[in-house]
């Protein structure tokens, strides 16, 4: 158990990185426009990320497991560590990066190092969402923008009261977004450990209706690590997202967060997928998507709805560069790290 926990530290480090970065995707606009206090955001964010991870984290993690079924604990440790290091490096540059791309890059690095074949179908599924999720968020934001404009035109709320409603909606959307983030992205943090570490945890049964198994305990640990990341490092990135990328009003901030949260939830919820399939509706694959890409998609959707004049394309370009650089860095760092861990420390990595 002690050795397992030691090897899990890299996953916890990755969780911390995710908390410091991706929480900003959900709360950056709200905190950046000073509608929600950072302390308030951090508390709600932490609680709902942990809930999302423990309750609904399994679906998207499963897809990531297909990409690289890492059976050796040291290998999982190194892959998670490499991804975390990549995210940390990007965070130091104050770029909102994608943990999804870092971990996928690192897993591909492990595939290349171990000589195991890359699961093309799973990789295509994950990479497809990299393109599809921001487009879908942009679409939701575009539609919601006109809906909100229509409502405000007819309801005629006083400016002061609108401020109150907006804060309340930002808190609700933030809580929903945090839950979706936890559910969708816990796979990035703990997914690589499921095969090698989950069995080391005991299973607790509360009566006959609730079982708290190894995977859920793993996700709880990951969720706690994310919460620590939120509290210790996310404020700076929140300010970048909220203030620099696009001048968002509090109401548009709500639209962006809600759109992104819906998209993350669509790609994470097993219950929703079952419901859609059960009613013969098109469903979404349960895949960890990049909340960074999603939020930028939402910002673009708003920009397009407003006529596309206010977009800061230079900063958007800079972020897009991070999207390409992160998986590449992840793959290279993983390959080199696996070599070192195997040959210098004599560990079995695959």
């Amino acid at each position: 158990m002690g050795v397992t926990l030691l090897f899990l530290t890299s996953g916890l480090f990755l969780g911390w990185s995710l908390g410091s970065n991706d929480a900003a995707n959900v709360w950056g606009t709200a905190v950046g426009t000073r509608m929600v206090k950072f302390k308030q955001a951090a508390l709600i964010c932490s609680i709902f990320i942990i809930l999302g991870a423990v309750v609904s984290g399994a679906g998207a993690s499963h897809t990531l497991g297909k990409l690289g079924a890492i059976g050796a604990l040291a290998g999982a440790f190194t892959v998670a560590f490499s991804a975390a290091l990549s995210v940390y490096l990007m965070t130091r540059l104050a770029l909102p990066v994608s943990t999804t791309q870092a971990i996928v890059g690192a897993i591909v690095g492990w595939n290349l190092f171990s000589g195991t074949g890359i699961n093309g179908a799973a990789l295509a599924k994950v990479m497809g969402t990299w393109v599809f999720s921001p487009v879908l968020t942009a679409f939701f934001a575009f539609v919601l923008y006109f809906l909100v404009v229509f409502i405000l035109k007819h309801v005629k709320v006083h400016l002061i009261r609108l401020d109150g409603y907006t804060r309340l909606l930002l808190l609700l959307a933030g809580a929903f977004g945090s839950y979706s983030l936890g559910a969708n992205n816990i796979g990035n943090v703990m997914g690589v450990f499921i095969k090698s570490a989950a069995s080391a945890f005991p299973t607790f049964n509360l009566g006959s209706f609730f079982t708290f198994g190894g995977v859920q305990q793993l996700f709880l640990l990951g969720g706690l690590a994310i919460a620590v990341g939120v509290y210790t490092y996310s404020k700076r990135v929140m300010m970048t997202v909220g203030a620099d990328i696009f001048k968002l009003s509090p109401v548009t901030a709500f639209i962006v967060v809600l759109s992104s949260s819906i998209v993350l939830f669509l790609f994470a919820s097993q219950g929703l997928k079952n419901f859609l399939v059960g009613h013969n509706l098109p469903s979404f694959p349960l895949v960890p998507v990049s909340s960074s890409q999603s939020i930028v998609g939402g910002v673009i959707g708003i920009g397009l709805a407003k006529g596309g004049h206010n977009l800061n394309l230079r900063i958007l370009g800079k972020i897009s560069l991070g999207w390409i650089a992160t998986p590449l860095i992840g793959a290279v760092v993983a390959f080199v790290s696996l070599f070192i861990v195997q040959n210098v420390f004599g560990q079995v990595v695959y």
């Binding site: 509608m35 923008y145 405000l152 005629k156 006083h158 400016l159 002061i160 401020d163 009003s249």
Partner: protein
Amino acid sequence: MNLFFQRARKIEGNIDKYLDNITKAILTFDQGIKEFFNGNIDLFEEKYKEASKLESDSDELRRDIKYTLYRDLLIPDARGDVLGLLETLDDVIDIIEEVLREFSIEKPATLGDYKEDFLSLSEKSVKSAQELVSASRAFFRDITNVHDFITQVHYWEHEADKVEERIKRNAFGPDGREKLSEKVQVRYFAERISLLADTAEDVAERLDVYTIKRSI
């Protein structure tokens, strides 16, 4: 959150009261000028006192709104604009009080020859200021209509300018007053009354910018 909405109701009430005060001050100005030109000096003085009282009440309300907005951290994104609007609206009420005070001190007898023009000038300046108050109310509750009211502020200011010019040309023209001091007094009071419309226009221009910033 309940506490928030209680506070919101209070501050909304104060903003409404503040705008009501400005409306009352504009109507008081309108009545005061009419009483002056109709020779009812006692009634005019009453209106002047009413305007002074409204001016000091408005200052108090404005301070209270400002304090509450900052203390309760309300509308962080629009706070500066709202306070800017309320402060410049205060200029309108200040001008009203100032012009009536000058009428009260000087009691200019020379203006009688231009009574109709002065009443017309006052009416147009008052309309400009009233449209400004409507624009300000719309800014808080119905932002899509602000622009329509601002257009009317500009229209009435322009009309007031025309009457102001006519009064000046008449006073300084061949059929005007004989003494330079009288001509200057006519010009001075025409400019003072017209200043109400000019100030309304200045505030309307700022309000236009605040409105663009507030559109989501």
